[in-house]
């Protein structure tokens, strides 16, 4: 479920760094540059990620009206990749290797030959199957300097962090007991005190 409907599972990030004077104007062109580009089977690329419209993985026509709404920047983050089951790849690779060996007198293939055959297998599978797609909504409140991301997947979050930094030149810090503590009780004293805390033992005396 995403930002617009249903129950929500969200990761929260704090945005670190200075916003430009006119974020809407500055960011629109940058968002367009990082717009999601669909994968094609003939490319030598296994995965690609980028921005799409909020809640609409197929909508890559990003206009100012869709991206900037009130104090929010709203986008979908889409990640496509060609991912095939290991058993399928290994099965087809074994077949190709057997055929290659049959054409030569050798008993084994070199590492390079094996890698080349694996590329052939992957290229063939790419023609046959569609890439898998994952998408999650992202909403950035400029006033609060907070981002909500509708996923807890660490793989998806990792790519979001990279894409966000490349697009906006700003860093995202994932909410955690430590980072929330620094935001809520800022100051060097809190930072030092937090670092020195030890886990408490509450075990009863009985």
């Amino acid at each position: 479920m995403g930002a617009a409907s249903g129950s929500m599972s969200v990761s929260k990030f704090w945005v670190e760094g200075e916003l430009p004077k006119d974020p809407r104007r500055t960011f629109m062109s940058r968002v367009s540059l990082r717009r999601f580009q669909p994968l094609t089977p003939n490319e030598d690329v296994e995965e690609r990620y980028g921005w799409c419209a909020l809640g609409e993985p197929g909508d890559l026509d990003l206009t100012t009206g869709k991206v900037f709404q009130n104090e929010y920047l709203t986008l979908g983050f889409r990640w496509d990749r060609f991912k095939f089951p290991a058993a399928l790849v290994n099965g087809q690779l074994a077949e190709l290797m057997q055929r290659a060996l049959a054409r030569t007198d050798k008993e084994t293939l070199s590492r390079n030959q094996k890698a080349e055959l694996k590329q052939q297998v992957l290229a063939k599978l790419k023609q046959k199957y569609l890439p898998s797609m994952r998408m999650a909504d992202m909403v950035w409140n400029f006033d609060r300097r907070e981002v909500f991301f509708w996923s807890h997947s660490s793989a998806l979050r990792e790519r979001l962090l990279a894409c966000f930094e490349l697009t906006f030149g700003l860093e995202l810090v994932l909410n955690s007991p430590y980072s929330a503590g620094l935001k809520l009780l800022p100051g060097k004293q809190t930072q030092q005190a937090l670092q020195q805390l030890e886990p408490e033992v509450f075990r009863g005396s009985r």
């Binding site: 930002a3 617009a4 129950s7 929500m8 599972s9 969200v10 990761s11 929260k12 709404q69 009130n70 929010y72 709203t74 909403v139 409140n141 609060r144 907070e146 909500f148 807890h152 810090v173 994932l174 909410n175 955690s176 007991p177 430590y178 980072s179 929330a180 503590g181 935001k183 809520l184 009780l185 809190t190 005190a193 937090l194 670092q195 805390l197 886990p199 408490e200 033992v201 509450f202 075990r203 009863g204 005396s205 009985r206």
Partner: protein, 192 residues
């Protein structure tokens, strides 16, 4: 120590925060004052995961009507386990939020927002975002209260002994004592 290490070595605060909420439920009935007037009611229900802080792989998970009152949960606390994930209900005025909160990750899942105030609105998205931010603010304000007392001398001198007694089976802190311990610094009771 870099930021990643600091984040990892202080995740226990998330579990201690959940335990503090659980304890508050037995002391104040889950009522927390946020700011000068706002009162929120927090109740933990239906889902509880407890982990051993020394070995997160050792965990027990419970679902049901009241896992927090179960003998299994009681025994797990006595054995030193701490809550890692709870299902909570937060009420403020007419509004009610439901969600699962993972303490060490500080992650919310399955959030159910209050019924939208304006169902016919053209842009329910903003209403949903406003309610999400309101919920997030309440949880962070509760965490601020917890952290303030956690970093104060009264944590070791008063709160931890009271929580140990509670884990052992008796509630020795009353609501007035709770309020005193969690009063905002600088806020004084008016003299008559």
């Amino acid at each position: 120590m870099d930021l990643v290490d600091r984040i990892e070595t202080t995740r226990f605060l998330g579990s201690e925060f959940l335990l503090w909420l659980w304890f508050a439920g037995d002391v104040t009935g889950g009522k927390h004052e946020l700011g000068d007037r706002d009162v929120v009611e927090v109740s933990l229900e239906s889902q509880l995961k407890l982990i051993d802080p020394l070995s997160a792989r050792e965990s027990i998970s419970m679902r049901g009507e009241d896992p927090f009152g179960s003998p299994e949960a009681d025994q797990a606390l006595k054995n030193g386990k701490l809550p890692a994930k709870v299902f909570l209900r937060v009420k403020q005025g007419e509004n009610e939020w439901l969600a699962s909160l993972s303490g060490p990750q500080f992650a919310l899942s399955g959030i159910k927002l209050p019924a939208l105030l304006n169902e016919a609105a053209d842009e329910p998205l903003f209403e949903r975002l406003r309610l999400l931010e309101q919920f997030d603010d309440m949880l962070h304000e509760l965490y601020r209260q917890f952290l303030t007392v956690r970093l104060s001398p009264s944590w070791s001198s008063e709160l931890v002994p009271a929580m140990k007694n509670w884990v052992a089976g008796s509630v020795t802190l009353d609501p007035a004592g709770w309020t005193r311990l969690h009063r905002r610094p600088g806020k004084r009771t008016a003299r008559r």
